[in-house]
């Protein structure tokens, strides 16, 4: 395979006396969907937080495109084209979808007004509408607060927002957890479309059939370590569950 896009080696993360990661490794290649699975408490969310700059690992190394990488904040990751859809969505419920999509990246009016910090709301609304349509997030209205949308629509907005800004890699922490069947299909569809544009997707999920249907590769985390790596086409739900519960280990995985 080609050079890894993002590689983590022997990451450790301690919260006080709790060891959330105990030498976890992780690899993502360009333009693939790789799923990160593991039982509750295996350290998936912590690993994603370390890889997206939300938390700083206690030990271990990261490389990105072959270069050593240190992420001090989510902004560092975003600067490299790495975006994250968090499990708790992290949208501002009182702002409308367009405002949420452009939050932290507002378009300002040209000229003096822009210098004064005046927003170009029209341009943002137009671009947001285009973008939402492209990624199949159908909203009946672009200017109602997010809180007035259904759970699925909120999720679509969060996913669409991250995908809009990612140029290299997107982390998706349980992006389908709260969704109905139809919306779940749509999100999976978005994942494939993003991959086809050459962007790597890291999917965290509990849903094994979903993982197998959408991923190219699967990496398994257990007790803060990587315990197995599979090609999605060559494995089965039984094998994945075996790796997650510790019934099966690969010697070379860590």
């Amino acid at each position: 395979m080609s050079q890894p896009l993002l590689e983590a080696r022997d990451l450790t993360k301690n919260y006080g006396t709790v060891e959330a990661l105990r030498g976890a490794s992780f690899t993502a290649y360009p333009g693939e969907v790789v799923s990160l699975i593991g039982d509750n408490g295996a350290g998936k969310s912590t690993l994603v937080k370390c890889l997206s700059g939300v938390e700083q690992p206690t030990g271990g190394t990261l490389t990105f495109d072959g270069e050593p990488l240190i992420l001090n904040s989510p902004n560092d990751a975003r600067g490299l084209g790495i975006e994250t859809v968090f499990q708790d969505l992290a949208v501002a419920p009182d702002l409308d979808p367009a405002a949420n999509m452009f939050l932290g990246r507002e378009i300002l009016k040209p000229g003096v007004l822009g210098f004064l910090g005046v927003l170009d709301k029209k341009a943002m609304r137009r671009q947001a509408t285009e973008h939402f349509t492209r990624f199949g997030a159908t909203l009946q209205s672009i200017d109602v607060p997010i809180a007035a949308l259904s759970g699925g629509q909120r999720q679509s907005v969060a996913v669409a927002r991250s995908v809009a800004w990612a140029s290299k890699l997107v982390f998706m922490d349980e992006p389908t957890a709260a969704l109905g069947v139809l919306q779940r299909e749509r999100v999976l569809d978005v994942i494939k479309r993003v991959r086809d544009e050459g962007i790597a997707v890291v999917l965290i999920s509990h849903n094994m059939p979903e993982v197998l249907s959408v991923s190219d590769r699967v990496e398994v985390l257990r007790l803060g370590r990587r315990v197995a790596r599979f090609k999605a086409s060559e494995t089965s739900v039984e094998e994945l569950v075996g790796a997650m519960t510790g019934a099966l280990t690969q010697e070379d995985a860590a």
Partner: protein, 344 residues
């Protein structure tokens, strides 16, 4: 043809809610109507007394100072914070500014010129800003709850103001200041009201059209979300409290111009009046929602009630009771609406 239409409606081109619908769903409109009904009711009972130029002038001028405080408070409450210190900061700025003007004029600034007045304005604004900055830093950096920090500066600023002049009012406000900004009018509108109106308009623009305003809503709506998209939440909170303090300083200077004396008492409940005005105006005490226009209505409802009740001969003691009922009802409505919305 018909098929064309169905496809068009299925593809959301730019699905904007109509202006009318957006207006009627906003709290601001209803609060504005309440104010209008109040004015109309009192006006119908005593048109001679209510629609008198002097009555209106006095009502506006008295309310101008509170309005400036409330504009700052609107920003603070939208971030889901609170600022209890505004009245004390106003007193501190007012005393500091009056004493500064006196001291550069050899003890009595009554006949001082514009240079001294400008210096007084600077002192008022800077001392207000300093208290605001202190509040902001303690809240955003030291992570002490805003309620406690500003309760502390509420006491401290009042105490400091009393220390400055040994507990007495400061006289010697320049005549020129009082004549122009205190009692002067332009086309019948008191100049102090024009100043307040300009500040309010700038505040409204800042909140509704700029990135600063957008971040204010975002921080109040979901602080964590704001942080994750890279907004400096700490920096923004500091700026918001700084703004509230600066406006309190300006309000102190306006008070000096209007009353011709820097008074050390009588502002103990300014903070509560400003909070009540902001909340009456439809700004959510839980943060993330609100408007400066609503605050304008919220400032005038208690003021109109007070004046109106006096004029139609009802004991003015009813005014705080009436305001209290409207206030609690407003928060209750906001809460029910939020709960209904968030349950989807």
């Amino acid at each position: 043809m018909i098929e064309d239409k169905t496809t068009l409606s299925a593809v959301p081109g730019e699905p904007r809610t109509s202006l009318l619908k957006r207006l009627t769903s906003a709290n601001t409109l209803w609060i504005g109507l309440v104010l209008l009904v109040l004015v109309a009711t009192f006006g119908a009972i005593r048109p001679d007394a209510i629609f008198q130029v002097t009555t209106l002038q006095f009502l506006l001028a008295e309310t101008a100072v509170l309005l400036v405080l409330s504009v700052g408070m609107t920003f603070v409450i939208i971030t889901s914070g609170i600022d209890l210190s505004v009245g004390s900061v106003l007193v501190f700025a007012s005393v500091a500014s009056a004493m500064a003007m006196n001291s550069v004029s050899g003890g009595d600034a009554t006949n001082a010129g514009w240079g001294v007045i400008a210096f007084g304005l600077l002192v008022a604004v800077v001392s207000g800003a300093a208290w605001g900055l202190l509040n902001g830093l303690l809240i955003s950096r030291a992570k002490i709850p805003a309620l406690i920090v500003t309760l502390g500066s509420f006491g401290a600023a009042q105490g400091a103001a009393l220390l400055l002049n040994n507990g007495s009012n400061v006289s010697g406000i320049p005549d020129r200041l009082n004549r122009t900004f205190g009692s002067g009018t332009y086309l019948g509108i008191p100049n102090i009201v024009i100043v307040a109106a300009v500040v309010t308009a700038l505040g409204a623009l800042l909140l509704s059209t700029t990135r600063f305003g957008r971040y204010t809503y975002a921080v109040g709506s979901n602080e964590e979300a704001a942080r994750r998209v890279g907004i400096s939440v700490r920096g923004h909170l500091t700026k918001v409290y700084l703004l509230a303090g600066t406006l309190a300083g300006l309000a102190g200077f306006m008070g000096n111009a209007f009353f011709r004396v820097a008074v050390v008492t009588g502002h103990e409940t300014d903070n509560l009046n400003a909070i009540a005005a902001v909340v009456l105006g439809g700004t959510s005490i839980f943060g993330g929602m609100g408007s400066v226009l609503g605050t304008v209505f919220g400032v005038f409802i208690p003021a109109v009630l007070e004046k109106g009740l006096v004029i139609i001969g009802v004991k003015e003691f009813w005014q705080p009771i009436a305001v209290a009922i409207v206030l609690v009802a407003a928060v209750w409505l906001d809460q029910t609406r939020r709960r209904a919305r968030n349950q989807r």
